[in-house]
C-alpha cells in the first residue's frame, strides 16, 4: 500500500527544524554571552554553564506540544492517515533531536576550547556532569559522541512527553483537563517520595543510570517507547477538533 | 408550492436550441456550444445538457463530429419549420379554442379576432 509518509515527513521535519533552529540561535546567543563574560570580564570568578542540553530539551518539549496538533490537523486535511502522520511525526522529531544534539555538541565543544583559557570557568553538559570525573579535561571525540547520543535521547523523550500532554488534553473534556493539570505537579513530586516511603529504594536505579551513558540511552529509549505507545493510544480514536 | 408549469430543464434547453436554429443564431453546419459550455453557462449538470442535446440529435437536427463537437444538420431549419407547423394546431389552436370556450366566445367571434390580429400584428 502506498503511503503518504514522504510528504508528511518532509512537511513536519522542516517545521520542526525551523523552530528548533530558532531555539538553537537563542542558545548560541546565550552561550556567546557567557563566553565573552567568562573570558574577558570574569577571569577570576568561578562560572559554570551546563545549560545546553536542558534548554534544548525544554525547547523540544514545547515545540512538540505546539506542533503535534497542528501537524495532525494538516495531515488529516491532506488525506494522510493518523498512523502515517504519527509515525512520521516521531521520526521527524527523532531526526531533529539528533541534529540538535550534534549541533549543540559542536557548540559546547567550541565553547569548551575557548574557555580553556579561564581556569575558573566550566562549560559542559549533562554528559560531563554525570559521566566525567575530571571536570577540567577536554572531552575526547568519542565522549562528545556519547554526549550527543545522550542529548538525542533526552530531546526525543522530551518531545514525546510533550506530545503526550498535548494529546491527553485533546482527549479530555474541560473538567478532567483541570483535574489532570492540577494533579500533575503533585504526581511529579509526590510519586518518587511515595515510592521511597513505601520502601522502594531508587538509589540502585540511579546508580545504574550513572554507571554508563548506554544505560542512560537505554532508559531514554524505554521512556520514549512507552510515551510513543501511550501517544498512539490517545491518538487512535480521538475526534480531531478544529478549534482554530 | 408554486403554480408554474415546471418543464424539465433539458426540455427547455432543447427548445432554446431549436429557437436558435430557427432564428439563424446557430447556422446550419455550424458548431453549437459544447456540453461543458452549457453546463457552465446555465449552471446545470452536464448530463442534463446532454439529454437536451440528444433530443435534437434523435430528431436529426444536430449531428456529432467526432472530436469536434455537435453541429447543426443541413436542412435543420426547414425541418423545424415543418415540425412546428405540424405542432401548431396542438400547441396553439387547441389552447386558443379551449380558452375561447372558457370565455364564452364562439367560432365566428374567434375568427373575427384572428382576422383583426393579422391586420394589427406586424
Amino acid at each position: 500500500m502506498k503511503t503518504s509518509f514522504k510528504p508528511a515527513f518532509r512537511y513536519q521535519f522542516v517545521n520542526f527544524l525551523k523552530s528548533a533552529a530558532v531555539f538553537y540561535l537563542i542558545i548560541v546567543v546565550i552561550t556567546t554571552a557567557f563566553l565573552i563574560v567568562s573570558v574577558h570580564f570574569a577571569a577570576d570568578s568561578s562560572m559554570s554553564f551546563t545549560g545546553n542540553g536542558n534548554a534544548f530539551a525544554i525547547g523540544m518539549f514545547v515545540v512538540a506540544i505546539v506542533y503535534i496538533r497542528s501537524d495532525l490537523r494538516l495531515c488529516l486535511q491532506f488525506g494522510v492517515s493518523r498512523r502515517t502522520a504519527f509515525i512520521s511525526e516521531i521520526l521527524a522529531v527523532l531526526s531533529v533531536s539528533a541534529i540538535l544534539a550534534v549541533a549543540g555538541e559542536l557548540l559546547t565543544a567550541i565553547t569548551q576550547v575557548v574557555v580553556l583559557s579561564n581556569p575558573n570557568s566550566f562549560v559542559g553538559d549533562v554528559y560531563q556532569l554525570i559521566y566525567m570525573d575530571a571536570a577540567r579535561v577536554l572531552p575526547t571525540f568519542g565522549q562528545h559522541m556519547l554526549s550527543a547520543l545522550i542529548n538525542t535521547g533526552m530531546f526525543f523523550c522530551a518531545s514525546l512527553i510533550g506530545m503526550f500532554f498535548s494529546l491527553l488534553f485533546w482527549r479530555l473534556n474541560k473538567l478532567w483537563t483541570i483535574v489532570v493539570a492540577i494533579a500533575i505537579p503533585f504526581a511529579i513530586n509526590g510519586v518518587p517520595i511515595l515510592l521511597v516511603r513505601l520502601g522502594f529504594n531508587l538509589n540502585p536505579f540511579i546508580e545504574w543510570i550513572a554507571s554508563s551513558p548506554f544505560c542512560f540511552a537505554l532508559t531514554s529509549l524505554t521512556i520514549a517507547a512507552a510515551a510513543a505507545l501511550i501517544d498512539w493510544l490517545l491518538l487512535r480514536r480521538a475526534n480531531i477538533k478544529a478549534r482554530k | 408550492m408554486t403554480f408554474q408549469n415546471e418543464r424539465p430543464i433539458f426540455q427547455q434547453l432543447a427548445e432554446q436550441l431549436e429557437e436558435g436554429i430557427l432564428s439563424g443564431a446557430y447556422p446550419e453546419e455550424s458548431r453549437v456550444p459544447s456540453i461543458t459550455e452549457y453546463s457552465v453557462t446555465y449552471k446545470i449538470n452536464p448530463a442534463t445538457a446532454l439529454k437536451g442535446i440528444n433530443l435534437l440529435v434523435d430528431s436529426g437536427l444536430l449531428y456529432k463530429k467526432r472530436g469536434l463537437g455537435m453541429f447543426v444538420s443541413t436542412g435543420a431549419k426547414e425541418q423545424l419549420k415543418s415540425q412546428r407547423r405540424d405542432r401548431f394546431y396542438h400547441d396553439y389552436i387547441e389552447r386558443l379554442v379551449r380558452e375561447a370556450k372558457n370565455l364564452g366566445l364562439d367560432a365566428s367571434e374567434l375568427s373575427e379576432m384572428i382576422k383583426r390580429g393579422f391586420e394589427d400584428v406586424d
Binding site: 508528511a8 512537511y11 494538516l74 494522510v80 | 408554486t2 403554480f3 424539465p8 461543458t36 453557462t41
Partner: protein, 284 residues
C-alpha cells in the same frame, strides 16, 4: 471506482447521528447529499475522511478500507467549514503544502482562481473572513484533482456573485476533469440543477437515494376546486396539501394518470419535493 458506505452507524454518546447508512458515491457523477441542519450530512462526510470514527459499519474507497489507508484517504478531498490549517499559515504556504501532498495539484490554476475571487494569497488563513476562508478551501478543492471531491456546505458565507462564480467553476472543472463530486447542503434549490443523483437524509437515515430525475418524475402537483381535488386524491399517496379559499393544491407521490377536467397539473421541482417529503415525515 466508487466510495462504498456500508451500514454506517454513528453514536455520540446517547445521540444517534447516523443510523445504518448504506450508500455508493462513484462513476464520476455529481451527487447531492440533501438534508436539513443536523440531519447527519457533516457526520457522514467526516467518517469518510477519517475525521470521525464510525460506531459500526465500513467505508471502502475503490475496494479498500479507509482505516489507516493513505492511498484511499488521498483520493478524497473534503472541503468543510472546519479550518484544519495551522494558525499562522499563509494561503500560499497552504498551496505549497498541497503541492507536496497531492501530485495532481494544479498550482497555476489555484493562483488563477485566487486572482479571480480576489483572494490575497499572502494573507494568513486565520485572518480571512468567513466568505474568503470558504473561498480558499474551495480553491483548494478545485485544484487538487482527486478522484473524489466532497463539498460540505460549500457556499457558506459567500456572496451571490461568488456563489455564482463557484458553481460555474465547478461545472467547468467537472467538464474538463470529471470526478465524483458530492455536494452536501441544505440549500436544495441551488444544488438541484447541478446534481445528477440525490441522496436525501433525515435524522441520520437515508430517505431517498436515486437519480434526481427519478425523484421529480415520480411526483406531481395538482390544484383546483377543493371538492374536485379531494375526489381526485382518493386512494393516492398525498405528501402535502394546501387550501386557499376554495382552491386546493396537493403534492402527490406517483405519476399523474388520467387528467380530469377542471384540475391543473404541474411538475414539482426538487426543493418543493424535498419540503413536501419533510412535511410528510414530520407528520409521521
Amino acid at each position: 471506482m466508487s466510495i462504498e458506505i456500508k451500514n454506517i452507524t454513528k453514536d455520540f454518546g446517547d445521540a444517534r447521528a447516523l443510523d445504518d447508512v448504506t450508500l455508493t458515491f462513484g462513476d464520476d457523477k455529481i451527487y447531492g447529499l440533501l438534508g436539513n441542519n443536523g440531519a447527519g450530512k457533516s457526520t457522514l462526510l467526516g467518517i469518510l475522511t477519517d475525521r470521525l470514527y464510525p460506531t459500526k459499519g465500513t467505508v471502502t474507497v475503490d475496494g479498500e478500507n479507509v482505516a489507516n489507508n493513505d492511498e484511499a484517504l488521498g483520493k478524497i478531498f473534503l472541503v468543510a467549514e472546519q479550518n484544519l490549517f495551522p494558525e499562522d499559515m499563509a494561503v500560499r504556504k497552504a498551496f505549497d503544502a498541497a503541492q507536496l501532498f497531492y501530485s495532481a495539484f494544479d498550482r497555476v490554476y489555484a493562483e488563477t482562481l485566487s486572482e479571480k475571487f480576489g483572494l490575497n494569497t499572502k494573507k494568513k488563513i486565520k485572518t480571512l473572513s468567513t466568505g474568503y476562508a470558504s473561498i480558499f478551501r474551495l480553491i483548494l478543492g478545485l485544484s487538487v484533482n482527486t478522484p473524489y471531491l466532497l463539498l460540505d456546505e460549500p457556499v457558506l458565507g459567500l456572496d451571490a456573485q461568488h456563489r455564482d462564480m463557484f458553481y460555474r467553476l465547478l461545472m467547468e472543472k467537472y467538464g474538463d476533469n470529471p470526478c465524483t463530486i458530492v455536494i452536501s447542503t441544505h440549500l436544495i434549490s441551488e444544488a438541484a440543477d447541478l446534481i445528477e443523483h440525490a441522496v436525501i437524509i433525515r435524522d441520520g437515515r437515508i430517505l431517498k437515494d436515486c437519480q434526481s430525475e427519478e425523484l421529480t418524475a415520480d411526483v406531481y402537483s395538482v390544484s383546483g376546486p377543493t371538492g374536485l381535488v379531494d375526489a381526485y386524491l382518493e386512494g393516492k399517496h398525498v405528501l402535502t396539501a394546501n387550501v386557499l379559499g376554495g382552491l386546493k393544491t396537493a403534492c402527490v407521490q406517483g405519476r399523474a394518470g388520467a387528467l380530469p377536467e377542471g384540475l391543473e397539473f404541474s411538475g414539482v421541482n426538487l426543493q418543493d419535493y424535498f419540503i413536501s417529503l419533510m412535511e410528510e415525515e414530520d407528520r409521521k
